[in-house]
């Protein structure tokens, strides 16, 4: 086969994928960017859409509620991904030890990850229920609290409780990746270190961690990108309350579109969120590059 026909064939093979992605993602994205410079609204009437330049962006970036929502989303992202990282590595270290029943633990760890996000949200909402929730009952019976607490009733606590639910669902992914990476560490390396008298912490710090850091970086950035768009768990657990304490950026944009019907302004919020995501995505590719060079 000649080089030319091969190269043409490449595009034939790629064509369906490029077509689908262009129509469903690239063009809509461009449309959103365009809309963000207009005063378009959601309406069933004829509307004259005007180009208003940067007005929406000026509005968005001076909107304290939107900036608060962005800050809240970052907090959610950093804390939940951070916890997932720590917990994931700890669990992987545990599952990498030999002990009876290890296979069982390795199998069931996948279950939280398999629970659909919406079911996860519903289940934890029931667990946190102020009157009949399992968490209240458990803590009361164990003597940790004197009376039932309103777990989702306080803005700061509510966000942390949502984070806990998110961590429960997503730590298995991180744990599996960390475990897979740990299993590729040559046993001799750790043994030699142990013989030289390196303690457990030192072995983890100077051998295991550097070995798994590449894959961990990649999976954690991936989780960061996902956490930053959080919507469904919030929609079901708190609907952004109490007192907007869990209203995240995606929820804010959704509201701007479908509750306040301002597509132009909503689009500008969306583009700002997309811009931040783009930075994260670039970090992800940098992480992969680094990982591949390191490995």
């Amino acid at each position: 086969m000649s080089a030319i026909s091969r190269s043409r064939e490449k595009w034939v093979l790629l064509f369906p994928a490029i077509l689908v992605l262009s129509l469903i993602t690239v063009l809509p994205f461009l449309q959103t960017v365009w809309t963000s410079f207009t005063d378009a609204e959601i309406t069933a009437r004829e509307q004259q859409v005007n180009w208003i330049g940067l007005e929406n962006y000026i509005w968005a970036l001076t909107d304290p509620d939107f900036l608060e929502a962005l800050g809240r989303t970052m907090y959610f992202t950093v804390v939940s991904v951070g916890l997932e990282g720590v917990l994931g590595i700890a669990v992987a270290l545990l599952l990498n030890q030999k002990f009876r029943g290890r296979w069982f633990l390795r199998v069931i760890i996948i279950l939280p990850w398999a629970v659909p996000t919406i079911v996860n949200a519903v289940a934890w909402r029931l667990i946190y229920h102020p009157d009949y929730g399992a968490l209240n009952s458990l803590l009361l019976q164990l003597g940790f609290i004197d009376s039932y607490t309103s777990w989702l009733g306080d803005p700061d606590r509510a966000l942390n409780m949502v984070i806990l639910a998110d961590v429960w669902k997503n730590f298995p992914l991180v744990a599996y990746i960390a475990l897979a990476a740990m299993q590729t560490i040559p046993g001799d390396l750790l043994k030699a270190a142990a013989i030289e008298g390196a303690g457990a912490w030192k072995r983890f710090h100077s051998i295991t961690l550097p070995w798994i850091i590449g894959p961990m970086l990649v999976v954690l950035i991936l989780r960061t990108i996902e956490a930053f768009r959080v919507f469904d768990i919030i929609y079901v657990m708190t609907r952004g309350g109490p007192s907007d304490g869990t209203k995240t950026a995606s929820f804010y944009v959704y509201q701007e579109y479908f509750s306040y019907l301002r597509s132009g302004s909503g689009a500008s919020y969306a583009v700002v969120v997309a811009g931040i995501s783009a930075v994260l995505i670039l970090a992800y590719y940098a992480g992969i590059r680094r990982d591949q060079r390191g490995a």
Binding site: R6, S7, K10, W11, L13, L14, P16, A17, V20, L21, I24, T25, L27, P28, F29, T32, T35, L94, F99, G101, L105, V107, I109, I110, L111, W113, A114, V115, P116, I118, V119, V122, A123, D131, Y132, A134, S137, L140, Q141, Y148, W168, L173, Y176, I177, A180, V218, V219, I225, R229, D232, Y235, G266, A267, A270, V273, S277, L280, I281, Y285, D291
Partner: protein, 279 residues
């Protein structure tokens, strides 16, 4: 290496703690679904049901019951949507993956593919809503299938590409020598060899589509297209005084992905590892 008694104790305690943390919420969900409403509303709770009540599951699989009708319709839509999207994504992804793996298509393009799914859905949702609305295609399973397949496609391409990369290239070359076309080679030579990878890709894609909520929330409006996540969100916030019903819906919606995940764990874990680590 021998472990000290203390180390063993610490190890098993940690394992026990992890087991509890992982399973407790799930076990509680199942227990709620079979406890009587009285057990669920006592203070403090009755952890173990005084009598096992399976009636809620009976209602949910009964087409003539209001809740059952809605649940089964949403289940059908979810199966069709997730299944259809997985199928289309795979059919489109395999040739693309082959182009990346064997025909030297630029990896930068693959990164562009991947970047499209990493953008938050709020960036796409309004134009899509307007386009499909203009075509009269909102509230249709087909529409969700198309959107989902675009959502699954990049990841599926990536997974397939990294799996085709490690297949021996010699067999394909032999086929080409004998004058086989690329389509033929792809179907008869590459696909059979890549079957495990295809299975892993299918499984992961299906799970992702099964979980999707945001597009379904906005693009569907009734039982003809509404998927399980949206149905559950609507259901759990309505006039339901019996939390056991919500729990039983949750259990049923978790069963398919949980069974897939447990049975095909090796595939899924290796797929995830390949996807998020190897690049």
């Amino acid at each position: 290496m021998h472990r000290s008694l203390f180390a063993s104790f610490a190890l098993y305690s940690a394992a026990l703690l992890l087991t509890l943390f992982t399973l407790a919420p799930l076990v509680w969900l199942v227990l709620m679904s079979i406890s009587s409403p009285n057990d669920l509303t006592s203070v403090p709770l009755n952890w173990w049901p005084t009598e096992v009540d399976l009636s809620r599951y009976g209602h949910l699989v009964d087409l003539n019951n209001g809740a059952g009708h809605r649940f089964l319709a949403a289940l059908r839509n979810s199966l069709l949507t997730a299944g259809g999207a997985t199928l289309i994504a795979l059919i489109v992804a395999v040739p693309a993956a082959y182009a990346f793996s064997r025909r030297g298509a630029s990896l930068a393009l693959l990164f562009v593919f991947l970047a499209t799914i990493m953008m938050p859905p709020i960036t796409y949702v309004l134009p899509l809503y307007e386009i499909f609305g203009g075509l009269g295609a909102l509230n249709k399973t087909t529409t969700l299938i198309i959107v989902y397949s675009a959502m699954l496609l990049p990841f599926a391409t990536w997974l397939m590409k990294s799996n085709i990369d490690v297949l021996p290239v010699e067999i394909e070359q032999a086929a080409f020598m004998e004058g086989a076309s690329t389509a033929f080679t792809l179907r008869r030579v590459v696909l059979p060899l890549a079957l495990p990878a295809i299975a892993a890709t299918c499984m992961l894609s299906f799970l992702v589509a099964w979980d999707e909520f945001f597009y379904a929330l906005i693009f569907t409006s009734d039982l003809s297209a509404k998927t399980l996540p949206v149905a559950i969100a609507d259901f759990s916030a309505g006039r339901v005084t019996d939390y056991g019903v919500i729990a039983s819906v949750g259990v049923l919606a978790t069963l398919p992905p949980a069974i897939l995940a447990i049975c095909f764990q090796r595939f899924i874990v290796s797929g995830l590892a390949a996807g998020s680590v190897k690049g």
